[in-house]
Amino acid sequence: MDDQLAISVRGLRKAYGDTVAVAGVDLDVHRGEVFALLGPNGAGKTTTVEILEGYRQRDAGEVRVLGVDPAHPDPRHRSRVGIVLQGTGEFDELTVGEVVRHFAGFYPDADDPDKVIERVGLTGKARARTHTLSGGQKRRLDVALGIIGRPELLFLDEPTTGFDPEARREFWELIRDLAAAGTTIVLTTHYLDEAEALADRVGVIAAGRLVEVAPPDRLGNRQEALATVSWRTPDGTPGTAQSATPTALVVELATRFGGEVPGLTVTRPTLEDVYLTMIGRR
């Protein structure tokens, strides 16, 4: 086992009855990396991640998480891994501070609860009962519980679902801070901009298979894809052309129009375009 790998998966399979949720996934996540698992609902993201977290048993395949088989996690392994689940475990009647302090007690080398509460931006809410928190604040509390044990590896399952744009930006900053401190982060998301903003590498999962793994800007050979040049022809109809050399085409158009090209745009496929192609929706 390569010590530089936080996660190593070979031939992972999982079926529920006749439904195959994960159909042979191979995956490596390096230590210190932010890895995003991207895919539509029902693609096998959560099943894959919950097998890695030790919540579900696999049918077949080799899985190592921090060098340990997660199907049989011992408390020592649990203390090295932080988990932020999709659903929020509610402790309605307790305050933020009480919950974080309580969970700190489970870990051999827990972080200072007050520091962690500050880090997730809940200092002002430390004495508030958790049922008074907004959705975004509850998610921050989830993260606080995920990182209170100073994990080497942090799982985040769709962490910003339901956030408003500002809350998401703030949340991203928190994830970047954690990554900068050396925590390996595996997050699932169906927001492309989130994967693009946070991840060193993105794995696209569709129908139980990992379709591609690449840095977000290189996914689907995006940087080498043909550019689309569009403009407005003199008779008002739109003109468009795919080109490997868009600059030359623009110069040619400029010559043809004798200066400004009306309605000129040059675009390359967005992450969304390549993603939708990969998962077979385009």
Partner: protein
Amino acid sequence: MTTTTKPAAPATAAAPARRPGAGALALRQGRLEITQFLRSRESVVFTMGFPIIMIMIFAAIFRDEIAPGVGYTQYFITGMIATGLMTVSFQNLGIWIPIERDRGVLKRYRGTPMPKWVWFAGKVILVVAIGVAETALLLAVSVALFDLDLPDTAARWLTFGWVSVLGVTACTLCGIAISSLARTARSGSAVVTPVALVLQFISGVFFVFTNLPGWMQQVAALFPLKWMCQGLRAVFLPDSFGAHEPGGSFELGRVALVLALWCVIGLVLCLTTFRWTTRRDG
């Protein structure tokens, strides 16, 4: 702590000591459960108040004496204590655990290095604390308002103690076991309430047990509540009343045997059926 001349342990060895020991972990968990319980006003009012309301109703209906110098209250207090103990253990756990399972509270605990038994210990501490408080309150009210005679010998208090401990243990284990039958948060009370209500009717809580039809007495004798009531009658009624029991005496040996048997059954069911996640979680 003792003073010692041993050199300070190296930092690496000292770090795990920051986590509370096993006993302290269980106490923390118990304190958290009690805090949560006390802060949810409905559970406090209904759990603590139900037996008191019932004894008040009974005292108002049955003003006579069941025998010269022995009021009906003296008889029915035994059923109310047993019912109260069953409410805090069997019903409380059978209703609340599915809710916590559904909310993901249990799943979150499983993701931490907390040893599994600590969570169960927390529930037991909660049940014992509320059970003791509720029984004391019930006795205080009954002594103050209805001239209840408390047990007058150490032997009777001892019987009171072991019948309560065995009964609560059996009901706690059965409550944890039955919690796995509920598929969703809401179905917990639908599963538990009818079971509890039927047992209360056939076990001599609301009626004098020996006035019930014979077959009903036979059915009740299969379950713990009847034996808890019978054991408590040995505590609160004169010895001469033993002759009125179905077996011709209070049969304390059999009370101990049946309750202990239910502890074993409950424990086996807990160990084989307990689920930390909901069924849809796999």
